[in-house]
């Protein structure tokens, strides 16, 4: 669901085919019938962007039919925890949770907290957290005071304010008929999914969920994935073989680029970036990351952070100078890619680096991207080929409309040819968190160089420039440890990986794992979750021993963070007493005689902590984890059916319509995610929401995806004849029904229009597309691949030009998997006529900067009494 795995991840799909051959039922839930659907047992259509309603319907089905795996759910999740009596659900506030603050269009999360035993009852969030936003919290989420001891709980799951009952009530109206009305999925088809999914639950069976950007690229993307996590927890499918939720990543090592992040709000290992609020000193920062009395391994974040600072600043980092914490930059808000692009347009950004990214084609709102690039002083592009983002001043569509004038474009572009992955050594981290080392196959030609080479020498030269500047602000650069091993002029990737693994600074020994990290400055580590990749002084990522019957997890193939554990939270693969749930699903279990956890996988639990262990009430950190707390990174040791903290948009996932939708929200007065990030500006118009009228102007649902034959924005495929010939033209797939409605001809031209852009493509009429009935009306969906641009052997309009910028509030991912559009036969107009066409469309739809950007759409005072506007 949310993944076209056979097409976008064909190599990984071999395992799905293998599972199918062994008798697994494979279901594909997707707006259109793809190559994945063709190979599955069951294809289930739904309207793009309605996934939370669909999944919420599955949650409802589980409760309605009493299919909760209680033996798992009661001990291993927070189902039994009692929630603050101030908490009010979306059921009572017509789509909002308690704590809504209209002024800052966000939530005060204090009412979402657990109730605690003893004095004071509820323990409110500490004041430093009040304005914290999800993006500043890192993977630990905001801290949670108190171990599990003080949290009030009801093991019978009957208390009306326990998480179990709140969850049940939250999804009570997500019945099959509601799913059909919102998603367009026929009831029978939906029930088939429920039956198959819930049957893969319990001691003997499990089910796995696979998703990709079909889930993440929504204004409720993070909550969408959480809904799946709730289902998997209720069915006991987390931490067990054949279970889990698999995120298919977009390219090689995208997982690695979040672990050791290219994200503005994270440091390596999901430690949050210091902010202006939390960054005054190390103690304040750490207090924001973890609570003193918190359970679990995030309690040790001080060891991870100090070791990171030791890796950054080496001997310059000491207890006396807070280990150089003050040399780190602070964030002061949203510095995400889309905010930066708007700042470029507004003249607030002078220089920009693009590495392995082609935003002129690959990012939402291509016009905005290109206008931003055209308003810089300088731009550095490193890529394998000359991409549209490096040549926009000569070939952007805005030249025809007069918005970019080549002779007056002031951006100076520096293009650096990059070495390909075959031309350099290093590690990839794939979707299973597995690091695999690769060797250099051939030397890069000419001026092509590795990223490592580029950044090492850039850093070296900048350090040389500021060495004697005497300027205080250059001190972080002078303090930066930059002494990597170099052969010739190429820095050695293995040396970098060793620094990431970490050293005992006293002995110079490579660490064996993150449990060795210290907060006193005696260890260094570039990324705590990767510590152990060089255990025993050996590059564990380079191991290549395939799995076998005796070693089903192939533990000596590559290395998986953390600590080579293949299944996260695999303590849950055993029952509370430590026995496997069943022989078929045995993974790790407690060996009473040896007094330790053993099994096929590396146990994701303290090796000698018995299942019967009960943590004393005053314990903190790992010591506070009891023997039945499998979720060792969580602040309460449990799987979170309800997220009391860490999310911007609510403790439970809730169905909101996409930012652009053809229909009103059938469940609540609140139309779209109230906390979604919107940017009302003249150059970022939105198509109107249904309540604003004019839905006939953009009546269709638009969604995009990849083709097997091309790679993302096309730099690696449109330049190659063997790939280009396989998908030589931008096409738009429509159903025979939409083709009739709009007079579209197979292989003829059509243009697709939104308030941002009109682009043209060849029409492919196919039975693989089908309309849906949503709220008693027929809704048509339009699909396009987004690989094309102005350059290469095959060219075409950039599909991402159609989208505007509206983001998920937690992770700032753009909504490019669901929008509204129109489609008309024939080619689009050229030059100024194109701008006029768009202006006419905007006028017809009554669009201003503010259109579609309203956030709180509930009647004043909440309540479900008001009639919804259609």
């Amino acid at each position: 669901m949310g993944s076209n795995m056979a097409e976008a991840h064909p190599v990984g799909f071999q395992w799905v085919m293998e599972a199918k051959e062994k008798g697994a039922t494979v279901i594909h839930v997707d707006p259109r019938f793809t190559r994945t659907s063709a190979l599955c047992d069951l294809h289930v259509p739904l309207r793009a962007g309605s996934d939370i309603c669909f999944l919420g319907g599955v949650v409802n089905y589980i409760f309605e039919h009493d299919l909760v795996f209680r033996d798992y759910v009661a001990p291993y999740t927070n189902a039994s925890f009692i929630v603050n009596e101030d908490f009010t659900d979306t059921e009572d506030l017509d789509g909002l949770f308690s704590g809504w603050d209209e002024r800052r269009t966000g939530y005060d999360r204090s009412s979402w907290q657990y109730e605690h035993e003893g004095e004071g009852g509820t323990l409110a969030e500490p004041s430093t957290r009040e304005h914290a936003t999800g993006h500043s919290c890192g993977a630990s989420g905001p801290r949670l005071e108190g171990g599990s001891g003080p949290i009030r709980r009801d093991p019978t799951l009957e208390h009306p304010r326990c998480v179990y009952q709140l969850l049940k009530r939250h999804f009570a109206r997500y019945r099959p008929e509601m799913v059909a009305e919102v998603c367009g999925t026929p009831v029978e088809q939906f029930l088939k999914v429920c039956a198959a999914w819930t049957s893969a639950s319990g001691r003997e069976r499990t089910a796995a969920v696979v998703y990709a950007v079909g889930w993440t690229q929504h204004t409720s993307g993070a909550q969408l994935i959480r809904t799946a996590a709730i289902i998997q927890l209720l069915l006991g499918n987390i931490g067990r073989p054949g279970g889990g939720i698999m995120a298919m990543r977009g390219h090689a090592s995208i997982q690695g680029s979040t672990d050791i992040p290219t994200l503005f709000n994270l440091l390596p290992g999901y430690l949050p970036m210091p902010t202006a609020e939390t960054g005054s000193d190390l103690a304040t920062y750490l207090a924001a990351v973890k609570a003193d009395r918190q359970k679990g391994f995030w309690r040790l974040a001080d060891a991870y952070m100090v070791s990171l600072l030791k890796e950054y600043f080496g001997e310059r980092a000491s207890a006396e100078n807070d280990f150089g914490f003050d040399w780190l930059p602070r964030t002061s808000g949203d510095h995400g890619t889309y905010r930066s692009v708007m700042d470029m347009v507004d003249g607030k950004v002078s220089g920009y680096f693009l590495l392995g990214q082609n935003p002129a084609v690959g990012s939402a709102h291509g016009r905005l991207q290109r206008l931003g690039l055209a308003n810089l002083d300088w731009l550095v592009v490193r890529d394998l080929t000359m991409i549209e983002s490096a040549t926009f001043f000569g070939d952007a569509p805005e030249i025809a409309t007069g918005e970019i004038v080549p002779s007056r474009c002031k951006t100076e572009v520096f293009f650096f040819p990059a070495a390909a992955h075959t031309e350099k050594e290093g590690s990839f981290t794939q979707t299973q968190r597995m690091l695999q080392w690769r060797d250099k196959a051939v030397a890069p030609k000419g001026d092509q160089r590795s990223e490592l080479w580029f950044f090492y020498h850039l850093g070296r030269k900048i350090k040389a420039l500021v060495a004697d500047s005497g300027d205080e602000r250059d001190e972080p650069l002078r303090a930066l440890w930059w002494d990597y091993a170099v052969v010739g002029d190429e820095p050695q990737a293995e040396d970098v990986l060793r620094r990431i693994n970490g050293y005992d600074e006293r002995s110079g020994r490579l660490l064996d794992g993150y449990v060795e990290l210290k907060a006193d400055g005696t260890t260094s580590c570039g990324c705590w979750i990767y510590s152990g990749v060089f255990a025993g002084g050996i590059n564990q990522a380079a191991r290549r021993t395939p799995g076998s019957a005796k070693d089903p997890y192939a533990l000596a193939w590559g290395w998986v963070w953390p600590a080579n554990r293949r299944i996260l939270y695999n303590r849950a693969a055993a029952d509370p007493d430590g026995r496997p749930w069943s022989q078929a699903k045995a993974c790790v279990w407690w060996d009473e005689e040896r007094g330790e956890w053993i099994g096929h996988d590396v146990p994701d639990f303290e090796k000698s902590k018995a299942p019967s262990y009960v943590a004393p009430p005053d314990a903190v950190g790992p010591d506070a984890l009891s023997g039945d707390d499998p979720f060792i990174m969580q602040a309460d040791g449990k799987g979170w059916l309800m997220a009391p903290n860490g999310l911007e948009d609510g403790p439970f996932p809730t169905h909101y319509e996409p930012h652009e939708s053809p229909v009103a929200n059938a469940l609540y007065a609140q139309q779209a995610n109230p906390t979604r990030r919107v940017y009302p500006r003249p150059d970022n118009p939105s198509n109107p929401a249904p309540s604003e009228g004019h839905r006939e102007v953009f009546p269709f649902v638009l969604t995009t995806a990849r083709l097997t034959e091309h790679h993302t924005a096309g730099a690696m495929s449109r330049t190659l004849p063997y790939l280009s010939e396989l998908q030589p033209a931008l096409c738009v797939e429509v159903s025979p029904e939409l083709a009739r409605l709009r007079d579209l001809e197979h292989l003829g031209w059509a243009h697709v229009i939104t308030s941002r852009a009109a682009i043209e493509a060849r029409v492919v009429v196919t039975d693989r597309m089908a309309p849906l009935v949503v709220q008693r009306e027929v809704v048509h969906q339009v699909w396009m691949p987004y690989h094309f641009g102005a350059r290469g052997l095959v060219t075409g309009d950039a599909v991402n030009d159609l989208f505007g910028v509206a983001l998920d509030p937690n992770v700032f991912i753009q909504e490019t998997k669901a929008a509204t559009c129109d489609i008309r036969p024939g080619r689009r107009p050229r030059g100024p006529q194109l701008s006029e066409l768009l202006a006419r469309y905007r006028a017809r739809a009554g669009i201003s900067s503010e259109t579609g950007t309203a956030r709180d759409a509930t009647p004043p005072g909440g309540g479900r009494d008001g009639e919804q506007e259609a």
């Binding site: 056979a6 097409e7 064909p10 190599v11 799909f13 071999q14 085919m17 051959e21 019938f33 190559r35 994945t36 659907s37 063709a38 190979l39 599955c40 047992d41 069951l42 294809h43 289930v44 259509p45 367009g184 026929p186 029978e188 088809q189 088939k192 083709l707 097997t708 034959e709 004849p721 063997y722 790939l723 280009s724 010939e725 396989l726 998908q727 030589p728 033209a729 096409c731 159903s735 025979p736 029904e737 083709a739 009739r740 001809e745 197979h746 292989l747 003829g748 060849r762 492919v764 009429v765 196919t766 039975d767 693989r768 089908a770 309309p771 849906l772 009935v773 027929v778 052997l793 095959v794």
Partner: protein, 337 residues
């Protein structure tokens, strides 16, 4: 010259031995299991990369996801995509209950068909050289019953490396040879481009390359086999739809797979090209199909031209027609069931 038993048709025990190889490895071949093909076309790309086969046209053909069109001198693997408003065994396409009208498959196939008819070689260009179908008159979407089901079949086609290879039999220069692996290969330094093989092939596989003039087709990666490697396409196939190995072992595996598929309800599943008593004496590259060969654009009863030498030219005429049929039938429902 006295012909050995079954040298022109019928089963042959030792195909390489019959061709004169004394000490030779067992007969090697392909088993292409279309039931697990995901249509990724990695086989097409790997084949071209390894064998340095040129690109053969950046053309959108409108044939579902297929923009190669057919096998040819510059396409030695070809993945066919067949969209049909029919059910595939227990597969549930999820169309029931949707507000759909009649299927669009016939109309779109009609458009492709008329484009091919207007082409100089009636579609024979596909897989060989650049070909632009251009804009062709639209065929109106039919009125009719609502579509209720859908299936999307995918199949990676390749040279069959026949036991009785018509291309080899008719080759006047000896450019086409039987290798020690039992496969059929064109020796490019000997081929004079006469084109007899093109009309002889009952499958429409081999063709001449424009600008080069010589005949080209799959070599089953003879050079890789000599080096102990499997062919590039099989190596690249992510789901083991293309399997390479000793033909006898592949036959056994295929029969097991067929049994399992039939047991799971795919009643129309069948093997194609594995029968040594068929018109070409069985193929070195055989297939597991999910329906009749015609659905995939394959001739139902391929016959080696040399089985009936006097009728050879007639057979060639049929083959030429078959080529067109092959390109078209992939997009149309078989007229008779």
């Amino acid at each position: 010259m006295r012909l050995a038993a079954n040298s022109l048709s019928g089963p042959v025990e030792d195909v390489a031995g019959q061709a004169g190889h004394r000490e030779h490895p067992p007969r090697m071949g392909f088993f292409t299991d279309t039931s697990v093909c995901i249509g990724c076309k990695a086989c097409e790309v790997a084949c071209k990369e390894w064998n340095e086969v040129p690109e053969d046209g950046l053309n959108l053909l409108g044939m579902s996801m297929d923009n190669t069109g057919s096998l040819g001198a510059s396409s030695w693997r070809h993945v066919a995509f067949i969209e049909q408003p029919r059910r595939l065994a227990r597969h549930d396409a999820g169309i029931a209950g949707l507000p759909v009208g009649p299927s669009g498959t016939e109309a779109t196939a009609g458009i492709v068909e008329s484009a091919l008819r207007r082409a100089p070689r009636g579609g024979g260009e596909l897989g060989t050289s650049p070909y632009e179908p251009g804009h062709v008159p639209a065929v109106p979407l039919a009125d009719g019953p609502e579509r209720t089901d859908f299936r999307w079949l995918m199949m990676s086609d390749v040279c069959k490396h026949c036991t009785h290879a018509a291309c080899l039999d008719v080759c006047p220069t000896g450019a086409l040879v039987r290798t020690e692996f039992g496969t059929v290969v064109v020796q490019q330094d000997i081929c004079n481009g006469c084109g007899y093989c093109v009309s002889a092939c009952p499958f429409g596989v081999i063709d001449r390359r424009p600008g080069d003039g010589r005949a080209h087709k799959c070599t089953l990666c003879y050079d890789r086999l000599r080096g102990g490697l499997e062919p590039a396409c099989a190596k690249a196939c992510p789901t083991s739809s293309i399997q390479y190995g000793e033909l006898d072992a592949l036959h056994e595996r295929a029969r097991g797979r067929l049994e399992a598929l039939r047991a799971s309800g795919v009643a129309e599943a069948r093997l194609y090209g594995e029968d040594a008593t068929d018109g070409v004496g069985g193929c070195g590259a055989f297939f597991l199909l999910l329906d009749e060969p015609a659905v995939y654009g394959l001739p139902s009863t391929p016959v080696v031209a040399s089985r009936d030498l006097p009728a050879m030219w007639k057979a060639a005429g049929v083959a030429a027609l078959g080529l067109l049929a092959a390109a078209l039938s992939a997009f149309m429902e078989p007229r008779e069931r």
